[in-house]
């Protein structure tokens, strides 16, 4: 079995590997966290701890899933708030975890309703032995408007509470940001101005996942009613990557330490977050679906990737894709690439024909005797919808041509993806 060093430093703390549980029920008590460490996770963000006076009162049931065809958990909706366990129990768990797992990273997630709460919670978790603090400024379903994403979308409050945490503790601290915002940069800058050392993102996306057609309310049904609440899992990965990219390219944030979150399930997802600028990674939904064991393949797959890339230090990969994501107006629009159909692979289903007609440019003609598609280059715009719908991967990028009157060498155009299909 391959064995490579996956360790990385983040906000001054050494992680034996970048894989952490994100704050949620997957890290809700000592026994769970101990099991997760034993199975190989590098760090844990403990379930968000609130002040003594805030009483958590949860609904039941509290989850729903988005499916597509046979695939469960395309996305996951939850209506949960913060830790249900009493404050002193949570602090005792943090303390015991750090004692028994000194080499692993224990991160306390906290959330207050006012400045005094934030100061006090920060002080308490430092006293309990946490290595780091994560400020939860982003839960979208709190029953109090003094808490959660209502705070995280208000840069003034973000800065004020970050300052409060820094008064309560000297631990490295990251602010966890909400995606329920058009531009995350002002909130992130406010956090840094308030003393944050880094950013964790994303928390869940406000959503309605499914509607019950008889009861005429959303799922899950809580005694006949439901609420807008947070969406997570694979479906939010593109949203998370987008926010992380936009943070890392904002002026002044190029070196921003980021803990990436949102739909991570495989080593490939993990590498995507790292290439986009994440130093550590956090995971909840896929752990809820499959268990802590998924970290084995994430670690092993990441090691193989580093080996293939000839990289010995994980830190060397952080942010490598940032420079290749440019504003839409800067993309090369001088050429088009025609699809090429491999008739030996083609099984004659006709899906490319249907999609090109109904969703693109009527550029595929269909021979109904031999059941084979042909591309008419006079109509084809090179969108490659056909390649995406083909069930056997028979369609791939073919001839590249410059648009009329444009300069350039079609030989030098780079369009081929190495991703395994």
């Amino acid at each position: 079995m391959i064995n490579k060093d996956l360790s990385i430093d983040f906000m001054g703390v050494h992680f034996e590997n970048p894989f952490c549980l994100s704050s949620s029920p997957v890290g809700n008590c000592y026994d769970m966290c101990a099991k997760a460490f034993d199975e190989g996770w590098g760090g844990i963000v403990f379930k968000t701890i609130g002040p003594e006076h805030f009483k958590v009162d949860e609904v039941s049931p509290r989850f729903d899933e988005l499916t597509k065809e046979g695939t469960p958990f395309v996305g996951f909706k939850n209506m949960e708030q913060i830790a249900e366990h009493p404050l002193d129990e949570n602090l005792a768990d943090l303390k015991k975890l750090k004692q028994n797992y000194p080499d692993k990273v224990v991160i306390a997630s906290i959330m207050g309703t006012n400045e005094e709460d934030w100061v006090e919670l920060a002080r308490l978790v430092e006293e309990a032995g946490a290595d780091m603090i994560e400020m939860n400024l982003s839960c979208p379903q709190m029953t109090s408007h003094e808490m959660g994403s209502d705070v995280g979308t208000n840069p003034k409050l973000v800065q004020k509470y970050c300052e409060a945490v820094k008064r309560g503790s000297s631990l490295p601290m990251m602010a966890k940001m909400t995606p329920n915002i058009t531009d995350m940069v002002p909130a992130a800058k406010a956090a840094l101005a308030g003393g944050a050392d880094g950013i964790a993102t994303i928390n869940t996306v406000k959503s309605i996942s499914n509607v019950d057609l008889e009861k005429k309310t959303a799922l899950p049904i809580v005694n006949g009613k439901s609420s807008v609440s947070g969406f997570s899992g694979k479906a939010v990965k593109p949203i998370a990557l987008r926010f992380i990219q936009q943070l890392r390219v904002a002026a002044g944030l190029e070196q921003l330490p980021i803990s990436g979150i949102g739909g991570i399930e495989t080593w490939e997802d993990a590498v995507e977050f790292i290439l986009m600028g994440s130093t550590t990674l956090q995971v909840t939904t896929s752990v809820m679906q499959y268990g802590y064991r998924i970290v084995e393949d994430m670690k092993n797959g990441l090691m193989h990737y580093m080996e293939e890339q000839g990289v010995d230090h994980l830190a060397d990969l952080v942010g490598l894709a940032n420079k290749n994501i440019v504003p839409a107006e800067d993309l090369d629009r001088n050429y088009k690439v025609y699809p090429e159909i491999d008739w030996d692979k083609c099984i004659g289903c006709g899906r490319c024909f249907i999609s090109c007609y109904d969703g693109a440019h009527q550029a595929i003609s269909w021979d109904d005797k031999i059941r084979r598609p042909t591309i008419d280059t006079s109509k084809c715009v090179g969108c490659h919808l056909c390649a995406l719908v083909c069930p056997v991967g028979a369609i791939h990028p073919g001839k590249i041509v410059m648009k009329p009157g444009r300069e350039g060498d079609p030989e030098k155009v780079d369009v081929v993806s190495q991703r395994l299909h």
């Binding site: 495989t266 393949d297 092993n300 797959g301 056997v392 395994l420």
Partner: protein
């Protein structure tokens, strides 16, 4: 028609293997893994495939089973992992063998070198026979730092992998590739060398710290009535020369095959694939007690073989055999160009000084009366399949290591 004989059924693509892996329920305490005799851990490698870590899947297979690409193709999974699979509670078991084949093909295409020789401990073990049990024992010993010499009577290594299981089920290039990894690790294979004739057992014992006898049951049984008859050939001889010639052999007009196990099914299916029009199999067992695996029986039936179940040969006159039914008052006389006997294999342990009863060791385990000599594979007690040969190969190596005390590479 040799093309049909030489062509393996198509395997999965990345898309279709993901579809199959997506059917896996990712069970807790997975029953498939518990049911694999060689501990290849299907639940773990399928999970790796599911999470797109194909290289990790290859490591799991290879580190547990040095013949993973072969087992993927020939393992009677319906008796082991797939029999245990929880998915049967919904519809049909996961195609574990098919997924394993995809992963090992990927391993080969990516030219991965997963197995590594351990630091030398200065000791050497001789292995007689290069079938699956000898090969696996060699790998486990090499990993532990032993030097290994394999002695093989035939011109090619592999035992029944090379001289038995037909090309369409197990391509020779796969066997060659698996053996090459083992020689690349440092195993020396001495071909065309029969122990007990070319080299004595005493000589081997003197030159090595231990000797493993892994000779399998490499000869066919023959009933007295079939002796000295030019129309008669044994299954082992027929399958060996057919595979060696890649199917380019002189074909009989028609053939009778006698036997109802997997070997008989291999013979009839091979004959049909090569283009012999009329092939009849006569089996001692009736269908409800048939010994051949369902897969193999279905394969033979798909080729259009006639199977007479419950018939035993009564007499033979040249090319004409008369059968009688075991229970019914019925006799059948058939004349055929060729008569092939697939009624079981026997062991030839001449001059090796080991004691066997009914082709296997009289006692469980791998020890013999001679403390330097061990047995493994088909001649050890337990199932006679490739995957068992692999497991027995690992176990005999572990046992030798625990006795010689060299296991500092564990």
């Amino acid at each position: 028609m040799t093309k049909k004989y030489q062509t393996e059924a198509p395997g999965y693509t990345m898309t279709t293997v993901m579809e199959e892996a997506a059917r896996c329920l990712l069970c807790h305490d997975a029953p498939c893994s518990q049911a694999c005799p060689a501990h290849t851990d299907p639940a773990k490698f399928i999970r790796s495939v599911r999470f797109r870590n194909i290289k990790g899947a290859a490591e799991t297979i290879r580190e547990n089973n040095a013949l993973g690409a072969i087992c993927a193709r020939v393992c009677p999974t319906e008796k082991y992992c797939e029999l245990a699979c929880s998915r049967s509670g919904i519809d049909v078991p996961i195609d574990i063998g098919g997924i394993q084949r995809y992963v090992t093909d990927f391993e080969q295409a990516a030219d991965m070198h997963i197995l590594k020789k351990g630091n030398s401990n200065g000791m050497n073990v001789a292995i007689i026979g290069s079938g699956p049990s000898g090969l696996q024992a060699a790998v486990t010993l090499l990993e532990k730092g032993y030097g290994v010499d394999l002695y093989e009577r035939q011109a090619k290594a592999g035992g029944y992998l090379t001289y038995g299981i037909p090309e369409y089920r197990l391509p020779s290039n796969i066997v060659d590739y698996e053996i090459k990894r083992i020689t690349d690790m440092g195993a020396n294979i001495h071909l065309n060398t029969t122990i007990g004739e070319d080299i004595t057992m005493d000589q081997l014992k003197a030159d090595n710290d231990a000797v493993i006898v892994a000779i399998g049951a490499s000869e066919s049984k023959v009933l007295p009535m079939f002796e000295n008859n030019d129309a008669v050939e044994t299954a082992v001889s027929f399958l060996a020369r057919t595979k060696d010639a890649q199917g380019n052999i002189d074909l009989p007009k028609d053939a009778i095959v006698i036997g109802g196990g997997d070997v008989a099914m291999d013979v009839v299916t091979t004959l049909k694939k090569l283009g012999v029009k009329h092939v009849t199999d006569a089996a001692y067992e009736e269908f409800d007690e048939f010994r051949a695996s369902k897969k193999e029986l279905a394969g033979a039936e798909a080729e259009g073989v006639t199977i007479l179940d419950g018939y035993i040969p009564d007499s033979i006159d040249g090319h004409t055999v008369t059968f009688k039914h075991r229970h019914m008052n019925s006799k059948l006389t058939i004349e055929a160009d060729k008569i092939i006997l697939a009624i079981g294999q026997t062991v030839n342990a001449n001059n090796l000084g080991i004691r066997l009863e009914h082709g296997e060791s009289p006692s469980a385990g791998y020890k013999t009366r001679d403390e330097k000599v061990f047995i493994t594979g088909d001649i050890a007690q337990g199932d006679k399949t490739v995957v068992y040969a692999v497991q027995k190969g690992k176990e005999v190596a572990d046992e030798i290591d625990s006795i010689l005390g060299g296991n500092h590479n564990d």
